[in-house]
Symmetry: C2
Subunit: 128 residues, 2 copies
DNA sequence: ATAAAGGTTCCAGTAAGTGGAAGGTCAAGG
DNA sequence: CCTTGACCTTCCACTTACTGGAACCTTTAT
């Protein structure tokens, strides 16, 4: 399978797949012409990675998850630990963004948004 | 004022202040010894930047906001537009993260997290 | 024969800093 | 006078997870 088909079937851009080869996630064989030749297993791994990344796992998390995925004897506790840490990080990000959102939407609401120069948003940012 | 004091009073790391000089936000004078010498205005600008960044405005947004801040004749509508766009981006990020959170917390809850190898998290990530 | 589509490598850039090395300067203590 | 430690300087590399583009090669279709 050439990279184009893998890209279509995994949903990852070809550039990303080449990058994932660079960082050691897959090691496709090479044809005589130098083209990468992917196996079904490679495709499966790449799709796995795409889904894990979509859930906010970092590349390093993915490395761990992939190793666990391929280890038939792993304990589910190990996977759960990684997932829970990711969940906590996501919660922290959401909380940060919600705090930002609250302040900012308050400012936006209090700004007339017309042609006059006085603006509570700038006043707030500039308060000494 | 040396960079250390500005750092303390603005809350920004000295490294960040030097970076902000690099990208043209401030242009402090230099003493005979080569040390940066900041004015009160510089300090005020840097504190403004720190607050704007804390609200999630990008560096480019900050450039716009700073220009508007220094333009006494600006229309508040111009500021509001930047703020509203930022708000919408924040909302989109929150929505993304909440979708991730929902899926992931569901998976975490369905995983026993014990020594056994079967793990719904990996099963889901590996579904073909 | 040629053109389009797909493949290759490599270099550079993104956002917004952070870390660290090598070295100059300043104020205080002995 | 010397040294120590805090503070300052520049410069280079690294971070995350890719993405864009140039220059070039191969395959397929017309």
């Amino acid at each position: 399978m050439n990279i184009g088909e893998v890209s279509k079937r995994s949903g990852l851009p070809a550039k990303t797949i080449r990058y994932y080869e660079d960082i050691g996630f897959v090691t496709p064989a090479r044809g005589e012409n130098g083209y990468r030749s992917f196996s079904e297993t490679d495709l499966h791994k790449l799709a796995f990675l795409g889904r894990a990344r979509g859930l906010g796992f970092s590349i390093e998390d993915c490395r761990t998850l992939l190793a666990l995925y391929e280890d038939q004897g792993r304990a589910s506790a190990d996977v759960k630990r990684v997932a829970e840490r990711n969940l906590m990080e996501i919660d922290a990000k959401i909380a940060d963004l919600q705090a930002m959102r609250a302040t900012l939407s308050h400012l936006v609401e209090s700004c007339a948004g017309d042609a006059r120069p006085d603006c509570p948003i700038l006043e707030d940012l500039g308060r000494s």
